[in-house]
Subunit: 363 residues, 2 copies
């Protein structure tokens, strides 16, 4: 029907990471990340998506109450220096390299935030680092924290794999704010250039900057998160995760539980991408970490819910693909043309209720 939109090509890399053991030095973890970044750039990637809590082990599986030991896992930031991480000696080499290579980053980490009144709050955070400006252009704090505040008792005698995110972190307070990633889609690939390679007119140029949303791990199971970004025209959702593959307190063999966890991960990312007509880049930290299993399943979905590329291992592995953001147009203009089809007058419960309100019992 409509004329085909001009391609807006972008090469992205999901930088899957194998386990970060508790005993691993920051230096060794950063070394692996620098290698992934460099390899991705050599394959043409302009954006590298690292996992959730990429710099450390997934420490919410442990109960660590010693404040000194706990602080080791966090990056301090503050009202005065909201993106302090990019100057932190133990992370900075990553940003320097990204800038040098011209490669943007999604990077998940534990953030210890001090506000203007000196109040300290811990978040499960990710930032979007733009190489062209050498700066952070967006921060997202995980909204949907899974797990429990208190450790679960072992009622089965099989042991317990703990998930204590609700103990360590406060739910994100920044909402789901989409943003444009500057200078990511360039030259002929930009919207409106018609593939001629000619420089773009100034008024067209900005339109080529992809609309990006960031989520973290468990957020991907929540359609609310995807839709909040869909309603901002998101073309690309970035998502890092650490997802337990086996918890002995639940039923099923390790193999069965892992298969089910991968299945649910895929359902979530696939439907979020399809129903909001966007690409998604979903990156795992995986393998056996501190004795706890994490699924792999790093995957890039297209706006029709098809797999573009996925990982094959449970180790450090790059999943690289060149995607055409113009493919988002079809879904956004037809089945998921929100302005034509959404009926917000019937969605009141989505905001009025946090939990369930069942219909009354029949007598």
């Amino acid at each position: 029907m409509a004329t085909k939109p001009s391609p807006r090509l972008l090469t992205v890399a999901a930088a899957q990471m194998g386990p970060n053991q508790l005993a691993d030095s920051r230096e060794s973890i950063l070394g692996r990340m620098l290698k992934l970044l460099t390899d991705a750039a050599s394959q043409g990637a302009k954006l590298v998506v690292f996992p959730e809590l990429a710099l450390t082990t997934f420490f919410p599986r442990h109960q660590i109450d010693d404040p000194v030991k706990k602080a080791e896992f966090f990056e301090p930031e503050s009202h005065a220096n909201p993106h302090a991480i990019i100057d932190s000696p133990r992370v900075r080499p990553l940003f320097d390299k990204a800038k040098e290579l011209g490669t943007d980053l999604y990077l998940g980490y534990a953030e210890r935030w001090t506000d203007e009144h000196g109040k300290v709050t811990d978040y499960n955070t990710t930032i979007y680092y733009s190489a062209s400006g050498g700066k952070v252009v967006a921060k997202y704090r995980k909204v949907h924290l899974p797990g429990t505040k208190e450790p679960i008792d072992d009622q089965t005698g099989r042991g317990v794999e703990q998930q204590l995110e609700k103990r360590y972190f406060t739910p994100g307070n920044l909402g789901f704010q989409a943003f444009r990633a500057p200078n990511l889609v360039t030259g002929a690939a930009k919207a409106g250039s018609g593939g001629t390679g000619e420089p773009l007119a100034k008024e067209v140029e900005g339109k080529g900057d992809p609309i990006v949303g960031m989520i973290i791990c468990n957020d991907r199971r929540w359609s609310e998160a995807w839709r909040c970004y869909g309603l901002q025209g998101a073309e690309l959702i970035l998502d890092g995760y650490n997802t337990t593959s086996y918890a002995p307190q639940y039923d099923g063999t390790p193999e069965e539980q892992e298969a089910e966890a991968l299945f649910h991960h895929r359902i979530s990312c696939q439907s979020g991408s399809y129903t909001n007509a966007c690409f998604s880049v979903n990156t795992a930290k995986c393998g056996i970490e501190d004795g706890g299993g994490l699924i792999a399943g790093t995957v890039i979905y297209d706006p029709n819910g098809h797999v573009v590329a996925e990982s094959k291992t449970k180790e450090d592995e790059l999943v690289v693909a060149t995607i055409d953001l113009a493919l988002c147009r079809k879904g956004k203009e037809r089945v998921f043309a929100f302005e034509k089809h959404r009926r917000v007058e019937h969605y009141g419960r989505l905001l009025e209720q946090v939990g369930v309100q069942e219909p009354p019992l029949l007598h």
Copy 2:
């Protein structure tokens, strides 16, 4: 961890229908439906789910402006007689048989509603008929109408398959109201009975009545619809559909388009079931109807997003399964325990915006 909930077993049937041609008499269509219903009951089904607009062809593919011809497709109901369909001579044999067999029905039809002021409004409607009381216990009017009001011009020279639901119908005004289906889960299968077959204590009995939600066709692509029911504790979503398998104005061979339409249908129903921890029964009208192709893909999903049973043909076919509603508990109490995890303070856009609001362009 928790003790296993007692089983709450229910045998359901999705009554997939082959095409209803424009030339088919109501008698012949009703005859096929009566056969499906009788066969389903003989296989133990206590609930039969028919498709959307089950009594007629999918007439929104045609532009029919002659009021007399158009009226033929509708069932008149009114403020004075809101469930007139169950006494309509051309539908009544179905309800009589359902009552005789003790089998509940989901039945999609075109409703011509006259309100107390004499105003007439047409809806794409379904009802839930309870055999035990011999009455309609819930009505749902399709909220998410796809398609266009005006026919699409053929700009390709290949012809156009029209979808004129927005011309024929007004969006539903009843919202997403879950309800309990009375006397559907009986005896030992009811919650709290412990499988002993003993009669249930009065205060426990009502808890066994499943919480049901109804959607129609395109609604299944909208996470808002599923979540509104999930927020009411829905255990069973019923869904009838007519979904175009091929439209010549779009790209792709008939085979390619059909595969993609089935793929998207499945993504939608699967993720809706998983992320709300409920079963869903999704029933097609399918095959070549008036020259237009409709997908089959009738399917029952469980609360983990797995296929319980699905159709194998594009004709009249029963998909019967005995499901255990107690399986909904796990998801509702763990990953999708809404009261623990939802953060409505960040969901404002879901209601504040109908359409897209993009982030500002970068200069």
